[in-house]
């Protein structure tokens, strides 16, 4: 039982160990993009058009990278959910 629990916990902790956020940040830097410069809908529009992706050189990425980048840009878009805390 303990072994099973340990295995499950190990699976949970390490099932998605790849740091998507870091990879996305690297891509953003490399492509000179700024997530906060556009709204969620605008980023979605860019990723739905090959022509628009070309303009931002996003077409040079593979589909997995595109997905990670899209998620990051949308999560940090100008109209994305932001923490609400005093003084920040």
């Amino acid at each position: 039982m303990i072994k099973k629990t340990f295995l499950i916990l190990t699976f949970i902790f390490y099932s998605n160990l790849y740091a998507n956020e870091d990879a996305a940040k690297t891509m953003v830097h490399k492509l000179s993009l700024s997530a906060g410069s556009k709204a969620i809908k605008q980023w979605e529009r860019i990723f739905s058009s090959i022509k628009k992706m070309k303009r931002y050189k996003i077409d040079t990425l593979n589909s997995g990278e595109k997905e990670i980048l899209k998620e990051y840009l949308i999560n940090h878009a100008i109209d994305s959910d932001q923490p609400t805390v005093a003084g920040i």
Binding site: P83, V85, G87
Partner: protein, 496 residues
Amino acid sequence: MNRYILIVLMFLVSIDAQATDDVSEKSLVQELLKEVRALRKEVDSLKADRNIKQKELVQEVQTIKKAQIENAQAIEDVNEYTEEVEANSFKDKLDFGLGFKTNLDNFTKKYASGRKVSSNNVWSNKLMLNMKADISDDMNFYGRLSMFKYWGTSNVHKYTYYDNMQGRAPSNSALYVERAYLNWFLFQDSFLPLSFTIGRQPSSDGPSNQFKDNVLRKGTYSGLLYDGAADGIVLTANLSTVLDNPGTYLRLGYAKGYAYNESENDVGNAFIGASNNDIEDTNVFGVFLDTTIPNIDNSLVQISYSRMIDIVANPLDANTTENENIGDVDLYGAMVEFTNFNNSNLDLFAHYGHSVAHPNGKGYRNYGGLLSSNGDTSDKSGDSIWLGSRYGFGKKQRFKVGLEYNHGSENWINLTQGSFDIYNKLATRGDAYEAYLMYVINRYANIRLGYVNVNYDYTGSGWFVGESKKINSSVDNADTTVENLESIYLKMNVNF
């Protein structure tokens, strides 16, 4: 003779040769002339072509120039339009966001006497109009107008009159100002940026309540210690640069927990507010440190201390002969929270709270004093823990499951009376369990099916007045003292 003949012949031959040469020269010249003519013709034709092309080029350049002028005009028009849009955008000084919750609760209460009461099919809505204004580079404003009501009734709940519960407890369909504060930023380019937060504070829905709503952090202070509206002023010092650790902030806060305000103090038409010799205002002072654990993304650690001075027995009772200041309370807290721990889709949190009540011996009617009986001045200490986790399944994390547990001791007291959950489970003197399954509909909306079970070991959870007593069948008012509360709920939450 022969010689003459030979000479004549030679002469004739030479004349003939010369004639032949003349003929070939002529034909060569003629050919050359022909070629020259042909070349001239070709040159003429090329010239003509060139002229045509030149003309065409000139025409093309003219067309391009014309197009350029037209384009410039079009760009000018677009610029004008963009400026108009920009101007309108600047004119919209306030941005609005929507928060909307629909709740279906099914409660079962079990009293100490053994009696059971169920309230099923209880529906409620909460509307939140979130406002934001970027006033200038060094100032912004946030606000929230809230309506929280049960379906089918607009009765004003008596708790609505508690200042910290306005818009937080189900009542009528009125919009209450749950938040309204200015952030004023100072020395932003220095090594120690400061800011003042002035007004009705973001003191509700704090960490780690955000996991259940599937949103980012929506309040400043640990949800185990504080939850509700509060008017005050907070100085935030950003220590991230000084301590070389991102997300490190020191906050010093002052809030007014209660202010006496009766018409007897009016001067003419001026409603000048509190001044009463019998009841002092409740003042709250606090110090809070937020920080992160190095090398762990999305972590939050918060350590806090606050003191509530001159707690008023019943903020709704204007009868100064009965109402009293009943003492002070110290509240200590520590919490740690991990969002998407190690990119594992797992969120974890642990909160600890310690309260020390200092009753002054004064009591309110026959209810008693601060966590004590009338005349008792001994300190009352309480503790509480709140543990929880949430896990999202799959890459898209459409389904999430969450578990929470909290335990409070006999004299645990906190400031969560304005909690969104209407049973204020984090004030429990006993044990509370909650499990839920969430379905994320889209980026902005989710549905949550959950179960809460609260076992009360002691009376008066969440109340400052009165001695806390062990709950059993022989406790006073056993037929109205809740021993166990169960709720099966379905909630829909939209945050846009």
